[in-house]
């Protein structure tokens, strides 16, 4: 039996020409050649792993050495009035012949710069210039092929207050690359404050939420509030929705009551994100009229915005909204019912009794809603 099977298998299979090609291709010899190649590959990878480990270790100590040196000069700078009086020995310059060392130096200086201000910060910048590191950053910024170098270059330059490069950096605020653009925008704000926001007039690429947060945080460093009422309406007209959203954020952040009307215009904007932001901004800038405006738009809004409006009404609503809120108890969504109930109970006279009555009529879900309302009241 075995013999027959064996003969049948091997002979049939071998007879086909594909079978023969297949066997030649998949022959043990070829496979073993493959194994040898992979063996070499494995060996190479293992060597690479250890080379990498070694390189990382060496780099660590190398970095430490440069850092220690730089720290010496920085501590000098903290003590001295200006950098001019400090002699940097040739040995250190020689150390900086290595591009890796220069990068370590730049990193160290930029880190320090973030933590200091005043004379010391100025001196750090002076040291940066004196060591000729500015050229490195500039070179990086001009590297159009590697976006990460370009972005890094911009970051270094603005951290080192290279204001004379403002125009060059400004050009990059509408760069194709997200990261270059982002760094350029931050750079402009960093160096020129609120005035830098003028890039909002021109940018065609969207501002991500992340970028908006970064910009806002950057602006916050300037501390003082600025009147943006002349510029915000213009941005609210932008074709770039994200610019509108950002302008609305600015209006809320800097309490721009003067542009309230323009903001109201955004409540009918086609973009949901703009409308949401407009509602949120209006809530921040609320006055006695706001509840009426919000309830007026309520029915046209999506669920999320409706929830926002109801949430905001807990601090704005009065008995005048009671009718509107009572109607919402019939809304299909339980969350709307709940939110409306909360506002009713908290802000309207006898609001709680309205819900109690309703609970008697329609125990589910109003009994649970009632318990919730009582519990959070």
């Amino acid at each position: 039996m075995t013999v027959i099977l064996q003969q049948m298998f091997t002979s049939q299979f071998l007879n086909s020409s594909i079978g023969k090609d297949f066997l030649t291709f998949m022959s043990p010899e070829n496979l073993l050649i493959g194994v040898q190649i992979m063996g070499i590959g494995i060996l190479l990878i293992v060597i690479l792993i250890y080379a990498q480990l070694l390189a990382k270790k060496r780099m660590y100590f190398y970095t430490q050495r440069i850092r220690n040196n730089i720290e010496v000069w920085i501590s000098h700078i903290i003590l001295e009035e200006s950098v001019d009086g400090i002699d940097i020995p040739k040995k250190f310059y020689r150390l900086l012949d290595d591009p890796k060392a220069r990068q370590v130096a730049i990193d160290e200086l930029t880190n320090c710069k973030k933590n200091f201000s005043g004379i010391v910060a100025e001196n750090i910048v002076a040291l940066y210039n004196k060591l000729g590191l500015r050229e490195d950053s500039l070179e990086k910024m001009q590297n159009k092929r590697k976006w990460y170098l370009q972005a890094r270059g911009i970051q270094e330059l603005y951290l080192m207050d290279q204001k004379n490069l403002l125009t060059k950096i400004y050009r990059e605020t509408n760069s194709k690359n997200d990261f270059v653009r982002s760094e350029a925008q931050i750079a402009i704000i960093y160096m020129t404050g609120f005035n830098g926001l003028r890039f909002l007039d021109v940018i065609s690429y969207p501002l991500t939420l992340w970028q908006q947060i970064k910009l806002l945080e950057q602006l916050r460093l300037f501390g003082k509030k600025e009147d943006l009422s002349d510029r915000i309406p213009r941005w609210l007209q932008s074709k770039n929705d994200t610019v509108i959203v950002f302008a609305l954020r600015l209006a809320a952040e800097y309490q721009q009551y003067a542009v309230k009307d323009a903001i109201m215009g955004c409540l009918v904007h086609p973009s949901g994100a703009v409308r949401t932001r407009a509602i949120k901004t209006l809530i921040v800038l609320a006055d006695e009229q706001t509840p009426f405006i919000l309830t007026g738009y309520f029915s046209k809004e999506n669920f999320d915005n409706q929830v926002h409006i109801l949430n905001s009404l807990t601090s704005l609503a009065t008995d005048e909204q009671a009718g509107f809120l009572e109607k919402l108890l019939d809304a299909p969504d339980n969350i709307i019912k709940l939110k409306a109930s909360v506002v009713l109970a908290n802000n309207c006279t006898d609001g709680l009794s309205v819900i109690e009555k309703r609970a008697a009529l329609e125990p589910e879900p109003f009994e649970r809603i009632l318990r919730h309302v009582k519990s959070v009241k």
Binding site: M8, F9, P28, L48, Y148, I213, L216, D304, S375
Partner: protein, 1191 residues
């Protein structure tokens, strides 16, 4: 229906299918590796100037809810929540969902965080099990925390409750026991903030393994490589999956799975898609697929992103039990998810998801274990039926294994380049080494667990497998390695729906039959017990195999020490190990049932019994190896054929037991016992490996592995024997000895009458199988002799112990070490291709003197049963000869004297009859044993016979060239040996290797010299002129490694006499069987001696053809019990193997079935006759015996 065609097509589909599948798989791995490089580079660059701190403090950061379902996590919950609360994020809410834990989980949380129950409105947007209560802390510090207590409903249900309650925009679902890095959320949320035109619907994170890491106050303080094997293996798996796999899929936006241990979702889409599905155990994957499908079906642009930073650390299963269940669950989850969404399979409507991601998951994640398992089963079936091309199989296996290793190594490289969590170089080395074991240990288990997942899936078993936590609170000092058996905690899976337990208890049990009560439970336990006992057994067997390898090492070591490097060492090692494995498999099969029987009595009984058995087995193996290295032939059933006295004599001769041997024996025994006590516990295989072994054993049962390995021969006789498993050889031979298989019937007898001269003259086949007319035996010697007068010549037969052609005369392949015999050959009739008929001395006298068959264990072994026969002794004595035998040792050895007396010899002279003075014995061995008188003395003694008037027959058997090769004046012959090597122009390397056998060669030179002195002395005697000397070897000395199966029998034959008219060299093959017929024919026709026309000679007379040929059929008996060699024409049969004999007596394997069949049939005919004469108890009719037998 043409079945051949169907099978053919199936086979092709199988072969090509596997080929295409593996090619695609390899290509996809390569693609993954390449994509992951690109994506990792991008991510690393991006990360290099991202400052996440901005987000940590910003009020603009989006709101996030962490959902942490908890089930029976009471042991660690308080600490885990503390860890989660310490995460950097402003707009955070933490919802812990207690999924109806049975432990004190909730109470612990209430106590630790000062919780109070609040009336919280839960909107059941996604249907879930009932919420029993919502708790908030009275302490404002914990304002972010919300605890939900609900009825048990499984992980998916718990998460759905969390989704219903969560008030924030983004959800981060985590396993509560995970340790998150402090900035984990910042990094996780960032992709959502970066979305522009593509909506980010979900974001996945890396899960890293925290076993052995140092964790303090719920924070990871120091990353350490896991000390235990299983977690370490999983570290490697996770590195591969997350750094390579997920990264690549993320680049393609094709991620289908976000680990349930750490993933973020857009709440809105999650709710719209319907939340987690609690009908699957793979809810994490299912949700992602459903969300993606939701987006695809609405044609909305979306993305699922992935963060490669090590953000989430979790404890990996540290026992096969729990790991097996985890993998089982993963498999079921994958099957279920893919089944739910089968609509997407190669559906272009779903774009990349349907065309690439789904098929990838289907073929390479879901089907891979099945295909692999199926492949293994096929492999075993093929192997069992001998359809497997082993060369291809091993190279293919090696190919796949090296690719897997390359991939793992690459993953490690990527890890080192990017995150480099394991900074110590040794850690990386350990990881690399761990990776080596994966395909042989860890992977089979994973595959088997996946197969079990399939089985469970088919059985529709749905269970939320649990994992028992050991707790992170361990301090480093506690992290001592835990033995595998110590770790598992038996946990029964929790059913999804809680069935009131009382139902079962109160239900009235109907009276069950005895079968159901007693027998059925017992039967249902049988497979489990068998499996467990097999697992335990395997641990032992693996140790035994290891010991066999050790024994193999010892054998090769001793051999190397004694004889230098053997030929084909590499093959010897590989084939030897293969044979050891085959032997171990055989033991496994035969030992399993006895072991299980002992196992049933008790684990310990089985263990102890195995220790005794294993030690004995290994010791015997070592002893047999030692025997082989000394005697250069493996011990077979010949052991049983020697009397105790014979054994004592032989063992004594080779040195016997001394103190060092005993000490070594004790040391080895202790080592074996110790290993067998300690190691089996550590080698307990996991489920996958057990299944693998079962398959191996089953295969071994179908296909006799030993048969397979028997064909693996390095190519040189000695090397072949060295590669044998000596135990197997011995047991097999012994088995065959005691339970001989019946001789096959000779069905083609008439076709094999090549020796027509012999076969046609058979007289009475049934009563006297060998009896035949012999007048055909030609007087071949007459043409070479002068016939001076009618006085018959004296005959002197010198049988030289161990004299082989391998080292004697022209063209000896080892070089000639018999200079005198070389010169004598030029003055003689010399047969260069002569054969002895036995591999040891026991056979020489009957074959040479009587051309007698062997009987079962050699003719002389028949003892009193020896049938009456005609021999040269009886014939010549009846013609007036004086007959005598001379031997330096004890002639009763091997029953020689009994045989000679039965032949009617006049006088047997052995050590007992030597005179007191003037004769020297051989030196004694360390045990005080000596074979007897040295050859020179023997010859001297033979010359003392001065009665030269009547013709005489003298038979002289030497002994000096026998193990232990001790001779007097050893130094002289050692010098000669050195000199001889120089004469032979040996290189230094050659000399070195020959010096391993100095004693042997020196003894040969000694014997040669003794013969020279003997002939010289004889030549001075008056009867010399009328004397014929016949010199041959009894067999070839096996203590110098042999090169072929025939080498052992290859001896020279010289017929030297002053009566010779001319000298000649013959290349044709003849044997000892031919000497008596030839001599008697010569004496009959040339000298008119009275010799019968009828006799029972086995031989037909020497062939005097000068060219190489063989006209004889020659059975050859290697050892007393072993009759497996047969020569006929130019072919040799050895057991089952056929060789062609080349003119230089080399053998080359020949595989012509017809030839083999012919040889076997002829050999069987001989064997039958050989058996019949013993059964009949007669060789000759009484009338002949009376006339020509002994007087």
């Amino acid at each position: 229906m043409n079945w051949n065609l169907v099978i053919d097509i199936l086979f092709d589909i199988l072969t090509y299918g596997i080929f295409i599948y593996s090619t695609l798989l390899l290509l996809s791995y390569i693609a993954i590796a390449i994509f992951s490089i690109g994506e990792t580079r991008k991510y690393v660059h991006k990360n290099s100037f991202t400052d996440y701190r901005i987000l940590a403090s910003s009020v603009h950061a989006p709101t996030v809810t962490i959902l942490a379902p908890a089930y029976n996590e009471g042991m660690t919950i308080v600490e885990n929540i503390r860890s989660l609360l310490s995460i950097y994020y402003v707009n955070l809410e933490l919802i812990v969902i207690n999924d109806g834990s049975k432990d004190d989980c909730l109470q612990k949380m209430i106590a630790a965080y000062d919780l109070e129950k609040i009336d919280y409105f839960v909107d059941y947007k996604i249907k879930t099990k009932e919420v029993r209560g919502v708790y908030k802390s009275r302490n404002p510090i914990f304002h972010k925390l919300l605890v939900v207590d609900k009825v048990n409903g499984g992980k998916a249900d718990a998460l759905n409750v969390g989704i219903n309650i969560a008030s924030n925009k983004y959800l981060v679902c985590i396993d509560v026991d995970c340790i998150l890095e402090q900035d984990a959320l910042l990094k996780m949320v960032k992709p959502f903030l970066e979305q522009t035109n593509e909506k980010v619907i979900a974001s996945g994170g890396v899960v890293r393994i925290a076993n052995s890491c140092i964790i303090e106050d719920g924070k990871l303080v120091k990353v350490k490589l896991a000390t235990d094997y299983l977690p370490r293996m999983q570290i490697l798996e996770y590195i591969r999956a997350f750094i390579l796999g997920r990264m690549a899929w993320s680049r393609l936006n094709g991620l289908m799975l976000i680990s349930g241990a750490f993933g973020a979702f857009d709440k809105e889409i999650a709710i719209k898609a319907g939340g987690y599905d609690h009908n699957t155990v793979g809810e994490d994957m299912e949700l992602v697929v459903r969300m993606r499908r939701y987006m695809e079906e609405r044609n909305e642009k979306y993305r699922v992103t992935y963060i490669p930073d090590p953000l989430c650390w979790t404890e990996a299963p540290n026992s096969f039990n729990i790991l097996g269940r985890q993998r089982n669950r993963w498999t079921r989850g994958t099957i279920e998810t893919l089944k739910f969404h089968k609509k997407m399979f190669f559906n272009p409507k779903y774009g990349l998801l349907g065309m690439l991601s789904y098929p990838y998951w289907f073929f390479f994640e879901m089907c891979a274990p099945v295909i692999e398992f199926f492949g293994f089963v096929c492999f075993f079936i093929f192997a069992a039926f001998g359809l497997l091309d082993w060369g291809f199989f091993f190279s293919y296996l090696l190919f796949i294994v090296s690719f897997g290793y390359l991939y793992s190594a690459f993953a490690i490289l990527m890890e080192v380049i990017t995150y480099n969590q394991y900074k110590r170089r040794t850690d990386i080395l350990i990881l690399l080494l761990t990776a080596l074991t994966e395909p042989f240990y860890f992977h089979p288990f994973v595959v088997w667990s996946a197969i079990k997942g399939y089985i469970d899936y088919i059985r529709k078993k749905k269970a939320w497998g649990e994992m028992t936590r050991q707790g992170f609170a361990k301090k480093p000092a506690d992290t001592t390695p835990v033995l595998i058996e110590a770790a598992p905690v038996i946990i029964t899976p929790e059913p999804v729906i809680v069935v009131p337990e009382t139902v079962e208890e109160t239900a009235d049990l109907p009276k069950e039959s005895f079968y159901k009560r007693k027998i059925a439970p017992f039967i249902s336990k049988v497979p489990e017990v068998l499996f467990e006992s097999f697992r335990y057994y395997m641990g032992h067997i693996l140790v035994l195999l290891l010991l066999l390898f050790v024994a193999r090492g010892i054998e090769l070591g001793i051999d190397y020490f004694e004889h230098g490097k053997p030929q084909y060492l590499d093959k010897i090692i590989w084939y030897g190990l293969a044979k050891d494995v085959a032997f171990a498999t055989l033991i496994t099969i035969w030992g399993y049932l006895p072991f299980t029987a002992l196992f049933l009595i008790g684990k310990k009984t089985a263990h102890v019994s195995f220790i005794i058995f294993g030690t004995l087995l290994t010791l015997i193996q070592v002893a047999l190896s030692q025997y082989f290295v000394t005697s250069l032939v493996p011990l077979g059933a010949d052991l049983w054929s020697y009397s105790w006295a014979d054994i004592e004599q032989t063992v004594g001769a080779s040195g016997g037991l001394n103190l060092i041997t005993i000490l070594l024996l004790v040391a080895a025994t202790s080592l074996f016992v110790f290993t067998l006590i300690k190691l089996p516990r550590l080698l307990l295989p996991n489920d996958g490996i057990v299944v693998f072994f079962i398959l191996i054993v089953v295969t071994g049962g179908i296909r006799n592995l030993t048969k397979v390995t028997e064909n693996m021969l390095p190519g040189h006789e000695y090397s072949n024997n060295l590669s044998l498993n000596k135990s197997y050889f011995f047991y097999k031979a012994s088995y065959d000895q005691f339970f001989p298989s019946a001789e096959e019937d000779d069905i083609y007898g008439d076709d094999f009458l090549a020796n027509a001269a012999y076969e046609n003259r058979l007289i009475d086949k049934n009563n006297y199988p060998f009896l035949h007319q012999s007048d055909s035996t030609k007087n071949v010697l007459a043409p070479f002799f002068n016939k001076k007068d009618s006085v018959p010549p004296n005959i002197v037969i010198v049988l030289v112990e161990g004299l082989g052609r391998a080292f004697s005369n022209e063209n000896a392949y080892l070089g000639s070490f018999t200079p005198y015999l070389d010169s004598l050959s030029l003055k003689s009739l010399y047969w260069e291709n002569f054969l002895s008929t036995s591999g040891r001395t026991f056979g020489v006298l009957p074959a040479l003197l009587g051309s007698l068959p062997f009987g079962p264990n050699g003719f002389t072994e028949l003892g009193d049963e020896m049938p009456e026969h005609i021999s040269l002794i009886s014939l010549l004595k009846r013609n007036g000869y004086k007959t005598s035998f001379y031997y330096g040792g004890d002639a009763s050895f091997d029953n020689m004297s009994a045989f000679l007396n039965k032949s009617g010899i006049d006088r047997v002279n052995d050590e007992k009859s030597f005179p007191q003075n003037g004769y020297q014995q051989l030196p004694a061995s360390t045990s005080g044993f000596s074979w007897g008188y040295e050859d020179a003395s023997l010859f001297k003694y033979a010359l003392t016979d001065t009665a030269t008037l009547s013709p005489s027959l003298k038979i002289i058997l030497t002994v000096a060239t026998h193990s232990p090769f001790l001779i007097n004046n050893e130094a002289v012959y050692t010098d000669r040996f050195e000199k001889r090597m120089s004469e032979l122009k040996f290189s230094e390397a050659q000399k070195k290797s020959y010096r391993n056998y100095t004693k042997q060669y020196a003894s040969i030179l000694y014997a040669d010299h003794a013969i020279q002195q003997f002939i010289n002395a004889y030549s001075k005697r008056p009867d010399f002129a009328n004397t014929v000397f016949l010199i041959t070897g009894d067999h070839r000395m096996p203590e110098i490694p042999m090169s072929t199966k025939i080498d052992r029998y290859h001896v020279p034959l010289f017929i030297y006499s002053p009566l010779l008219r001319k000298t000649e060299k013959f290349s044709s093959i003849s044997s000892h069987f031919d000497i008596a017929p030839t001599l008697s024919a010569w004496l009959k026709y040339s000298y008119g001696l009275n010799i019968p026309d009828i006799n029972a000679w086995v031989g037909t007379g020497v062939d005097t053809a000068k060219k190489f040929r063989n006209i004889h059929s020659i059975p050859l008996k290697q050892t007393k019990p072993e009759l497996i060699d047969f020569i006929r024409g130019e072919y040799m049969l050895n057991g089952d193997a056929v060789f062609k004999i080349r003119p230089n007596m080399d053998l080359e394997p020949e595989n012509i079935p017809e030839k083999k069949f012919a040889l076997k049939s002829a050999f069987n005919r001989f064997k039958k006759k050989n058996q019949d004469f013993v059964t009949n108890g007669r060789l000759l009719p009484d009338s002949l015996v009376r006339k020509y037998g002994r007087q």
